[in-house]
């Protein structure tokens, strides 16, 4: 081992001093912007979207990919001097971010594409906008299932003893099977069934005999499906399953006849964040037909820009049910506690 020499220490010290004295020298050339978003999207953002964005806006994107709650915590901690300029989170996490004043209102004058989105894509007067709508159905193994599942009740069919995997309610996608269970137990449409969580719990408890596993680690669950050990996973996102299918795995995503769901994901400008003008341009890019076409093709998510055509085979976003996230956010902690007690 080579110990620190006095010279190398002096050099490092000098470099440090210089970087404090003349920060512009160190951060020269392209403008940098920090975008916070989901870890799961990092792969296709980095590979397909950011190269186009960086070229177009002549900037360098630093992507902080982690789960939404962690990004929310970071924003709370850095409220006085935020480091993230643009944040990408699912709608349920946008709600507390909006309530705590962590994101700021966007305007069509700075972000022209904001005015060109489908109905319901802009929330709370422009505090955040949906740039994509992944859909949710039942993922199944094409190796094991000759025909795709047609209804949510199939998960409960006794012939699938120990063949079904569902996400834990701790995961965002854990809510879908509970919602489907509430619908099956009450016989009411999703819109009303979403408030009948007691019925949902009653029904989902009767799924236990069919459960191979309740997962918190999504890659492990998808791995089980790809191997054919699990036959179906209840409540999976198009962006998870169809990417694996495109890679050649024997899996597919079915939208049951009784309905699929949509999980709109939002983009927002961080209140008081750095590089404000660049943040506007980045958000405008995300909402543009150019970016949405890339995302629709590589990540299997329905676009929200009116000018972007829905690729063939994609479900009509209007046919998918989007639940009352404010109600869910308010009750979720209690449900998760109940889930861990009743589902073990």
């Amino acid at each position: 081992m080579h110990p620190f020499s006095r010279r190398s220490l002096l050099k490092t010290g000098a470099a440090f001093a210089a970087s404090f004295a003349a920060p512009s020298l160190v951060r020269a050339a392209p403008k940098e912007i920090v975008i916070g978003g989901p870890a799961g999207a990092a792969k296709y953002f980095n590979a397909d979207l950011f190269p186009v964005l960086e070229k177009k806006l002549d900037c360098k994107v630093l992507y902080e990919g982690t789960n939404s709650l962690t990004n929310l915590q970071k924003m709370q901690a850095d409220k006085a001097s935020p480091k993230i300029s643009v944040v990408i989170m699912d709608d349920p996490v946008m709600l507390p971010a909006a309530a705590e004043g962590l994101i700021t209102k966007m305007s069509s004058s700075a972000i022209p594409n904001l005015g060109k989105l489908v109905d319901d894509a802009v929330h709370q007067d422009g505090l955040w906008a949906n740039y994509q709508k992944p859909w949710v159905g039942i993922a199944y193994s094409t190796k094991r299932m000759k025909t795709p599942p047609v209804s949510w009740t199939e998960l409960w069919d006794a012939k699938y003893d120990s063949k079904i995997v569902i996400p834990s309610l701790s995961n965002t996608e854990g809510f879908w099977t509970l919602l489907a269970a509430a619908h099956l137990e009450t016989g009411k449409p999703f819109k009303e069934a979403q408030y009948e969580i007691d019925a949902g719990f009653k029904k989902i408890k009767s799924l236990k005999a069919n459960l191979l596993n309740v997962y918190t680690n999504a890659p492990q669950a998808i791995n089980l499906l790809e191997q054919g050990e699990a036959w179906m996973i209840g409540g999976q996102f198009s962006a998870y399953t169809l990417i694996r299918k495109a890679d050649g795995s024997p899996v597919d995503l079915a939208i049951p006849k009784d309905g699929g769901f949509s999980m709109p994901s939002g983009i927002a400008k961080v209140a008081g964040g750095p590089a404000g003008d660049l943040a506007d341009a980045v958000i405008d890019f995300y909402l543009s037909p150019e970016a949405q076409t890339i995302l629709a093709k590589t990540a299997f998510i329905a676009p929200t820009s009116k000018a972007t055509p829905l690729p063939a085979g994609y479900p009509d976003p209007a046919s998918l049910f989007a639940p009352d996230w404010a109600f869910i956010a308010k009750n979720r902690a209690g449900w998760v506690d109940r889930w861990s007690k009743e589902m073990t």
Binding site: L69, N213, Q227, D337
Partner: protein, 288 residues
């Protein structure tokens, strides 16, 4: 004070100065441990008795120790720790002797099989177990080929899978300390006992076992504290069906945003581990 010490340095090597020097040697490590270990633990203890508004409360402990569900969670952690430790010990003890008696290439191979798995991450090993145990996995295939079973047995996400995986993952931490002691064992003690008429049974229980006790105790303390607090192993090998203190802590912090409750669960877990390690230390100090 200095005058009194200086005249007679040779006869009495100045206990004060010696103590001072000793203190100087340990001071840096004491400081580091205090800073990165004691202080965070003190904070953890503090948080565990605070309610959401910052007032002092025992509610978290009452909830943890007073509800059947959480008592079950504590028992799950204990069970995982105890079973893993017991089975790991039963496998490791003879293995340590085999290792100590082996010579040359065989010994190198045995040591390599023990050390190499340590280089692979726990996650990789847990995934490997799900591949081995699945219905068309190696174990079911072999059992069916041998005619021992007709249909595949459900093995993944069972308690058996959890214990088998945990034993596999933590085994080296039991074998190595026992091996270290067995390798130093003087064979003449056993021979002397036999010469004096002791049966092999008596030689083992009265001579060999007591002499190797320090290694056993070190291994037990290591494996128990690792397995009782394991997070990745139960998460990947059995999932939500088997909640443990470690998974409860993660949920309290990441999901429910109840740092007080999470800290209380952490303190209980720590207390369990400390009790076992302290017991081991007491046992190993006992005169032979």
């Amino acid at each position: 004070m200095t005058d009194a010490v200086l005249p007679a340095p040779i006869v009495k090597p100045a206990p004060d100065r010696e103590r001072l020097a000793a203190f100087g040697f340990v001071a840096p490590s004491v400081l580091i441990i205090a800073l990165v270990f004691v202080l965070p633990l003190a904070l953890l203890l503090g948080v565990s008795v605070l309610d959401a508004k910052g007032g002092v409360t025992s509610a978290h402990y009452v909830r943890l120790l007073g509800t059947p569900y959480y008592l079950g969670v504590i028992w799950n952690s204990l069970r995982l720790g105890l079973l893993t430790t017991l089975i790991a010990f039963l496998i490791s003890y003879p293995a340590a002797f085999a290792l100590a008696r082996a010579r040359g290439a065989l010994r190198s191979i045995l040591l390599a099989t023990l050390f190499l798995p340590l280089a692979a991450s726990v996650i990789v090993k847990a995934f490997a177990w799900t591949i081995l145990l699945r219905s068309d996995g190696l174990i079911n295939t072999v059992l069916i080929a041998l005619g021992l079973i007709e249909d595949p047995i459900r093995m993944i996400f069972t308690q058996t899978a959890l214990i088998v995986g945990a034993v596999n993952i933590f085994l080296p931490f039991m074998v190595l300390p026992i091996y270290a002691v067995v390798a130093q064992l003087d064979g003449r003690y056993a021979e002397a006992a036999a010469t004096l008429g002791a049966s092999p049974f008596v030689v083992f229980f009265r001579v060999i076992l007591p002499l190797t006790l320090p290694g056993i105790i070190a291994g037990v303390a290591l494996v128990f504290s690792l397995s009782v607090s394991a997070y990745v192993v139960p998460t990947l090998l059995i999932g939500e069906k088997y909640p443990t203190l470690a998974t409860t802590i993660a949920k309290a912090y990441l999901l429910a945003r109840e740092p007080g409750f999470g800290a209380a669960a952490g303190v209980v877990l720590l207390a369990i581990a400390v009790i076992v390690v302290a017991l081991s230390a007491m046992l190993s100090r006992e005169p032979k």
